[in-house]
């Protein structure tokens, strides 16, 4: 499940960052992909569309994104949201 999530997330990041999916790896930082804060908002939308999840309210997002640096950090959030959805 998690691998499918990863592949889908990599596709989203590559599209928004206008880069090849091969350039996306778990270790790379979102800023190194060239993603601005507006791009990150777009990434969040694409994640919500693809995984049919909803990011929590703004305050929580800011908190979560403070500790969010790498693609792997984002994948952890996506996995949590997806499992919360499936659990609920």
């Amino acid at each position: 499940m998690s691998n499918t999530n990863q592949a889908q997330l990599f596709e989203i990041l590559a599209t928004v960052a206008e880069t090849d999916v091969s350039k996306v790896s778990p270790e790379i930082e979102l800023t190194d992909l060239g993603l601005s804060s507006i791009d990150v908002t777009e990434v969040m939308f694409e994640i919500e569309e693809a995984f049919l999840v909803e990011f929590p309210d703004q305050e929580d997002i800011t908190q979560r994104f403070d500790g969010l640096k790498t693609v792997d950090d984002l994948l952890t959030i996506v996995n949590t949201l997806v499992s919360e959805k499936e659990g609920g």
Binding site: S36, S37, I38, T41, M44, F45, D57, Q58, E59, I61, T62
Partner: protein, 404 residues
């Protein structure tokens, strides 16, 4: 050429006329409450700044309302008040020299558009009312004002998102300076507290979940408001010749573009608009006593605007009262430039700085005097009003006491 402001008119969440707006600005009344125009329970943004106690039939006949979206209703109400306030009589003789520049920062008839889409796409109703286009078009407000008042000079709107009606005032000044008109009825109107529109703002993740707290710590973002503002501008010569009341003078305006991002604000663009306005008004930074900030209450705008003010005003910045009336009015988008210009003129005329309400605690990134929570008596000869639209479109307007 000197430009006089002879008439003011407004309708907003904190007052359906000038007098009430003035009281509200002095008392720091908040127009923001839970949305009642639609059920906001499923929304992140449950609050908005709605016009209160509004019954369209108190202002218009049923026949008129068939062709008037809510935004154009607000536009007309504010224009009627402004023209009456200016004691201006429009006759067949002067009508061709009277212009209207009235703007919206959105499509204009958002309520009508969403209502019709819902009927057509969701309910499958094939019929659409013949007045639909006439209600939705963004220039409907300017046209309806010209029809209502009989103004027959240049009539149009300006489109620059949240700076739209500030551009209307700047362009109005230019029309007067160019000699194309003797009087300009300038302003903006907005009525976009609708489910589809609020959702679009939520998607940017810049909308507050409760109040609007510009420049404050824990500010959660924008609260969408609605309303309209209209100013009557005329050459000083024309105003004096007809013994018009003069509220203030429009001394200068600056217009600039960031040319960087469609959403992210930029210090340089904001700075240049303020500097141009000061230069045109022939004022030094230490002559400005009050700034009505754009102050949206977002993480991005407030520190950027603070830095821009610091760069333009230098050491004088510490002696200037800077407040955001969006804390009370919400963000009225295309109406904001005009409504806030009116607030600025009231501040000059009545010598007080309106407060930034809902202010919790200072943010280290925002280190000016924001007049937190309570209005303050302050002698104001000259003041600046900032409007910065999405897409990096900036306008700064300088107003001054008449014969300051």
């Amino acid at each position: 050429m000197r430009i006089a402001i002879t008439g003011l008119g407004t309708i907003s969440s904190i007052g359906n006329n000038q007098e009430t707006l003035l009281e509200s600005l002095k008392e720091g009344r908040c127009g923001i409450a839970e949305t009642s125009l639609f059920n906001p329970q499923e929304f992140r943004a449950k609050t908005s700044a709605e016009v209160k106690n509004y019954n369209p039939e108190d202002y218009f006949t049923i026949k008129q309302l068939v062709a008037l979206d809510r935004f154009a209703q607000f536009a007309i109400i504010s224009a009627r008040e402004a023209v009456q306030d200016a004691k201006l009589t429009i006759t067949p003789e002067n009508a061709p020299r009277i212009a209207v520049i009235h703007s919206t920062g959105t499509v204009g008839g958002q309520t009508t558009q969403e209502h019709n889409y819902q009927r057509f796409y969701e309910q499958g109703i094939p019929r659409v009312h013949p007045m639909t286009v006439a209600k939705i078009m963004p220039s409907a407000s300017a046209s309806q004002i010209s029809i209502e008042l009989g103004a027959k000079g240049p009539v149009f709107g300006t489109a620059s998102a949240c700076a739209s009606s500030a551009h209307a005032i700047a362009m109005g000044s230019l029309l007067l300076q160019s000699g194309l008109a003797d009087v300009v009825i300038a302003g903006g109107a907005e009525a976009t507290i609708t489910p589809g529109f609020i959702r679009s703002w939520e998607a940017m993740r810049v909308v507050s979940q409760d109040f609007c707290r510009p420049f404050s710590q824990k500010r959660g973002g924008v609260v969408i408001g609605e309303g309209a503002g209209t100013l009557v501008l005329e050459t000083l010569e024309h105003a004096e010749a007809r013994n018009a009341p003069i509220h203030a003078e429009c001394l200068g305006f600056g217009m600039s573009a960031d040319a960087t991002s469609i959403l992210q604000p930029d210090v340089d663009g904001a700075m240049r608009s303020m500097q141009m306005a000061l230069d045109q008004a022939k004022l030094q930074p230490d002559q400005i006593q009050y700034i009505n900030a754009h102050g949206t209450g977002t993480a991005q705008n407030d520190p950027t605007e603070t830095q821009a003010i610091r760069q333009v005003f230098g050491a004088a910045a510490d002696n200037i009262a800077v407040s955001s009336t969006k804390s009370m009015l919400g963000h009225t988008l295309g109406a904001a430039g005009a409504v806030e210009a009116i607030a600025t003129i009231q501040a000059i005329k009545h010598d007080f700085a309106p407060p930034t309400i809902s202010f919790l605690a200072p943010d280290p990134l925002c280190d000016l005097d924001y007049v937190p929570n309570k209005a303050r008596s302050l002698k104001i000869d000259y003041a600046l009003s900032n409007s910065f639209g999405f897409g990096g479109l900036n306008v700064a307007l300088v107003f001054g006491k008449h014969n300051a």
